[in-house]
Amino acid sequence: DVKVTQSSRYLVKRTGEKVFLECVQDMDHENMFWYRQDPGLGLRLIYFSYDVKMKEKGDIPEGYSVSREKKERFSLILESASTNQTSMYLCASSRITTGARLRPQHFGDGTRLSIL
């Protein structure tokens, strides 16, 4: 079974800090994703990576960056945390799409991040 592990379930940081959220998957998936989940807004894509050192901006990349140095690990970085980045952050992974069939994404448990 696919396992996507996020380093922390809960995290509290201060405004202006640089924050690192880590995600590791154990199924050799090519694709990895970072979302934020907010009530009434669903999941919004922050960044997406389809290969090592490759990244694409999602719908809400402002204030965030990512790093993918190894295939199994995808890090989300809040360069200077602000209170409006308080949210639930979800990491996901999937196999690369072949043909017309999008492979299902597998999710981690999420990190609930509070910025004070």
């Binding site: 996507v4 694709n31 994703f33 979302y35 009434g40 807004l41 669903g42 999941l43 919004r44 894509l45 997406f48 389809y50 999602g58 979800l90 996901a92 999937s94 690369i96 799409t97 017309a100 069939r101 999008l102 492979r103 299902p104 994404q105 999710f107 981690g108 448990d109 999420g110």
Partner: protein
Amino acid sequence: AQSVSQHNHHVILSEAASLELGCNYSYGGTVNLFWYVQYPGQHLQLLLKYFSGDPLVKGIKGFEAEFIKSKFSFNLRKPSVQWSDTAEYFCAVNEDGNKLVFGAGTILRVKS
């Protein structure tokens, strides 16, 4: 760009009632459609998916969904809900190859 609408944000049902959650997407053409569920305190997990073929798709835990191309819809149904179905449900549609666009989610509470 693709967008997904889930019409009901909160649904409260009694056990054994029938469930239908609406999902509409904006962009036609070839679509891959998904329903995910998030039980309290757990990660999102796949309920069912549609790629092509029979528009009535069966998933886990007795859920099914019907793809109606002419209505750009992919509604989720269950004939008889249980207390354990209390969760948040997300509809998602593919965009640009490997990416998904999610709806805002529907919180279902089943009263025992």
